[in-house]
Subunit: 378 residues, 4 copies
Amino acid sequence: MAQQLNIGLIGYGFMGRTHSNAYRQAPQFFDLEYQPILKACCARNQEKIKAFAANWGYESFETDWKTLVARDDIDAVDICVPNNLHKEIAIAAAEAGKMILCEKPIAMNTAEAEEMCAAVEKAGVKNTVWYNYRRVPAVTLAKQLIDEGKLGRIFHYRANFLQDWTISEDLPQGGEALWRLDVEAAGSGVTGDLLAHCIDTAIWLNGSIKTVSAMTETFIKERQHQLTGKVEKVGIDDACAFLARCANGSLATFESTRYARGHKALYTFEINGEHASIKWDLHDLHRLDWFDHGDESRVRGWRSIHVTDGDHPYMDHWWVPGLQIGYEHSFVHQVADFLEGLAKGEAVSPTFRDALETQKVCDAVLASGKSGQWVEVG
Amino acid sequence: MAQQLNIGLIGYGFMGRTHSNAYRQAPQFFDLEYQPILKACCARNQEKIKAFAANWGYESFETDWKTLVARDDIDAVDICVPNNLHKEIAIAAAEAGKMILCEKPIAMNTAEAEEMCAAVEKAGVKNTVWYNYRRVPAVTLAKQLIDEGKLGRIFHYRANFLQDWTISEDLPQGGEALWRLDVEAAGSGVTGDLLAHCIDTAIWLNGSIKTVSAMTETFIKERQHQLTGKVEKVGIDDACAFLARCANGSLATFESTRYARGHKALYTFEINGEHASIKWDLHDLHRLDWFDHGDESRVRGWRSIHVTDGDHPYMDHWWVPGLQIGYEHSFVHQVADFLEGLAKGEAVSPTFRDALETQKVCDAVLASGKSGQWVEVG
Amino acid sequence: MAQQLNIGLIGYGFMGRTHSNAYRQAPQFFDLEYQPILKACCARNQEKIKAFAANWGYESFETDWKTLVARDDIDAVDICVPNNLHKEIAIAAAEAGKMILCEKPIAMNTAEAEEMCAAVEKAGVKNTVWYNYRRVPAVTLAKQLIDEGKLGRIFHYRANFLQDWTISEDLPQGGEALWRLDVEAAGSGVTGDLLAHCIDTAIWLNGSIKTVSAMTETFIKERQHQLTGKVEKVGIDDACAFLARCANGSLATFESTRYARGHKALYTFEINGEHASIKWDLHDLHRLDWFDHGDESRVRGWRSIHVTDGDHPYMDHWWVPGLQIGYEHSFVHQVADFLEGLAKGEAVSPTFRDALETQKVCDAVLASGKSGQWVEVG
Amino acid sequence: MAQQLNIGLIGYGFMGRTHSNAYRQAPQFFDLEYQPILKACCARNQEKIKAFAANWGYESFETDWKTLVARDDIDAVDICVPNNLHKEIAIAAAEAGKMILCEKPIAMNTAEAEEMCAAVEKAGVKNTVWYNYRRVPAVTLAKQLIDEGKLGRIFHYRANFLQDWTISEDLPQGGEALWRLDVEAAGSGVTGDLLAHCIDTAIWLNGSIKTVSAMTETFIKERQHQLTGKVEKVGIDDACAFLARCANGSLATFESTRYARGHKALYTFEINGEHASIKWDLHDLHRLDWFDHGDESRVRGWRSIHVTDGDHPYMDHWWVPGLQIGYEHSFVHQVADFLEGLAKGEAVSPTFRDALETQKVCDAVLASGKSGQWVEVG
């Protein structure tokens, strides 16, 4: 009989939906000792959070996150609010002895992230950050292949995250839907929102990043602010590209933008090793491209692996070969892994400490973008 | 407040899982007047159905489908058992006044399908058959484009459904997992299992099929039978290809096999019209290929549409542009549409009568495969 | 020092250009014992053939093919005229003791092709038919892999040749540029023009075709005829699809049309064997898709082979890996192979006799299209 | 009647072959007022240059380039030797009043390139540098579309040139075949060999590059030198990536390496504009990917343009739609354009001065790679 784990979720936006779905779906597809219970959700707008609770089957709702964090019947707090609120909530939750599942990036900057790490480690509470792309089966397969040494010495890592949704000058900044464009709420632009994903995956697959040289740009300098109603300076980075040297000697390049016409959410990465190479992209997330130099030369070529077989990561829990899963499943996998870690008493990565490392790279990137210098990672 | 619709599901195999998931997921993502309640599930094996019920949250279970069909607290019967059981259950359910959601193909043959149609129509119960691929958003988009006349006169329709999972001679036939290889349980091989999907989509997109010339083959003539333990003749078609002439004057070709090494579940179709063409394949189900001859000639080319935007069919219910959904969502959409039709008092295709037309084509194909003659449909 | 081989080319259309280029190019890229000399070309229109001769460097030109065939200084006659002229010229050339390189399809029908075979075999002259696609390096690589047994038992062969250039009703038929639409000059439509290529490749790769069931259609029934100026019935097949059973037990499907909007010259084939599968298409002719079931299952997938390496067929004669060749090179390869065969005293396929077999399949296809019956190949 | 232009080609390696072929092919496919005559070729090794001359049909050969440059019957000197010899030959040729067609990169560094520019401009001789990729039809089409303003404001430019042929430590450096690995002969590694192409295209398509920040690496530090027989330090860059800011306000990223397992010669670029985006890659050089935001949103997607139609750049000179050309054709086009420019009395880009701008960027990149600072382009 599964033990119950009572979830208290704060925030009801896009990530509130993906997480709620993940808690609901995981138990049907994974054999888990813990059963997540949608105990409570929380947001300031009572009407909206009530509707959200009803839709997803939360047993209750709150309008003050402090009340939620204080409730005895909450085991784990899930933080899905804008970045500028992560630290305060996370520290309060840690102090209340709650497990924490926090959206990425972990914080506004390294200093905040360090405080948060200290808090959860002091409290000894389980913690994770929703860098969900690690658990796309194709990405997890890439990790397996690298860890087995199939690539040999790695020479190159390159990752891009390209979008095109902010090209119009008429798009405002700030407010509920567009807080990601408001530097006060988001901390940064594409660096924290998109490159943070790329950096998390890169560190996971390829190891630490040592130094970076970055270039950032804000193409549209002013936008109407939805909170003030005034045209205000845009404080975020619209685009960011950086060069990096990694601890394993490989060279890396990263780029992200919201001005790449034609790309909706095109997160791509490629790794070139001595013996093999790997490519992946989020627009076809169920495939992994694999090049094995060991193949007979006449028939050597990039293989397009349709990652839907029973021996692919996570896929024995879903359908049959050839039938793909989608974006939301990466969250289901993270819930399943988190609960399994809980049962085993093991930390499940990415933890707050893992996310701190990513945050340090983000900060180094932003600093380099300002200074025009190579910057060592924290 | 949503009205409740009590579901009684018979069968707990692969389709039992996809349907159960669909009933659970539809209400969170669609605004529905009817709420499906997982009232009961049913299978002969008590241990297995008990576990299935527990996993999916069915309130109860039965081991005799007749008991389930007789229960007053069941509004709709969902039939997920081998094809040879469809008719008896469906007719009993209709006579009991239950709505019916039946797996495809509707029946073993046209005669059975006609009895079933007569039964549901006499009883006046809502009915549908799970030709789920109609509700993959890219396929639905194809339907929209065709219905808007964007293709003009249609010259060609071609569809394939290629798999490779039965190539080994060591694979047995029959029994729970492999009833699709047993002609007694399945009625036919790839024709009813795979081509039926292709035919349903073709009729939906391109209109009726008039005459067919088919070629069928059973590559491996004998396999051990799991029910008898003996090596027995294989009665199903391993592969089937057919030519067809359609009511709209277009030519069509269809092929299906379980011996196409390298393809897991590669359902593909292509339609060539006077002004535009469409291609789709199940291995990348979130994309639709579109060629518009009206484009400026220098920059004319096949467009790969990533069908994940808010103005694409069904997609405003899911995530954000660029984030793909998967196979199971087609079932969620069918549940949502069925419930919406219920609220409006409208039949939702494909109905039993729609599925009867597909069955007639299947029968004509099998007959042509035997006779070597062109056969008129129905 | 290379021996000279004096070429006399009849016809100056599209194929006249590809052949002339091939004769010019082969000696620079292949180490050949025979040097083709562009001795003479021939067409009825003096002004045009004079310009053609000047452009390509032919030493002389004729306006009557009989004169050309009779010239002592011509060693080989290349026939690039409409199909209805092949037989007479070929037989005359054979009787004059000339080698013959004839465009495909070899003839208007099997009877003609048999006469032609008899003539060249009686005369003992070298002969070949320009089924050039055999010598696209990716296609030749496919042949190597099949001949090495890498596919094992073959289950399926499918080939299409899709075009879209005759969709407009305003396109006339007949005359110099459009003789392929005139049944009197071409003998048939897509069957002889396009499917003949598919059939030649299929027989080469997969062995003989035994029986066929075909469907043909003429979508636009009347077109203005450029020779008569009148609107006349269209006698060719605009589209043709057929099912086939092959001598090796495999099933085959073929389709060709000039009404597939979006496809310019999309010749594709796929072969599914027990152990491996192959795909190729003419729109990316420098690639071969290869699936090897022997690969480790987790990283199994279709490989896209960029056929530009030194160990790929013919490619050591061209550039460096990664740099593709194009369409015309298949003709250069055929010239090189023909000349190499000459040096060795060996016949080089496809010979007239090979082309006769393809012609027999074409005739069976056209007969089946008319009769609606399965037809055995002659 | 065409005027004759006597070519004297120095060097008989890979580029000697591509140029010789281009001179031979251009007149058959383009209607030109000038006819290139293969008057003489030159290399120190008499046996090899004699064979080369015989193969390509050069009327004569020399073993001292100074003799060739001095010959009165030479109109144009084509320089296909290692980079460290470009300057001396080019200046001598200019002083002798010869036109010059020089391989890229123009020189070892900016200082040399400036001397060369001065020399040709002082002498008033026609000059060009073989940045051949500008004349791949798909790339030329990209130029047309950009120049027509179809992209609007440009935000991003990214280009990579990835190879994998030097990964083995056993590969030596230097000597005839491997001079590109010898810094004395090549000046730099991937920067001059590969990135120079990317930079030339970028400037052509997107305008000047203002500042750069680069990272260079030599993965294998020592290799046996073929000239000395000793293991020596490798002086070239094996890999180089750089960030750039362009005069039009766009951000650019560039990367090149010979250590990207799986890529033979994968030159790719992508341009993101306000209204449209473009992608191209050398491994499928006959295609251009095009995204037009102006398309109806439901059917918007990247178009894969098969650049083989008569209204595509250069393609009316070749075959018919659907039939691709290859790598070597870009050189044929450059010859045709050069000769056409000659007839019109116009300079044809890229001239030495154009190539000087590319050289300045290369130098800035190498300087930045050393200093770790952003460097302004000279």
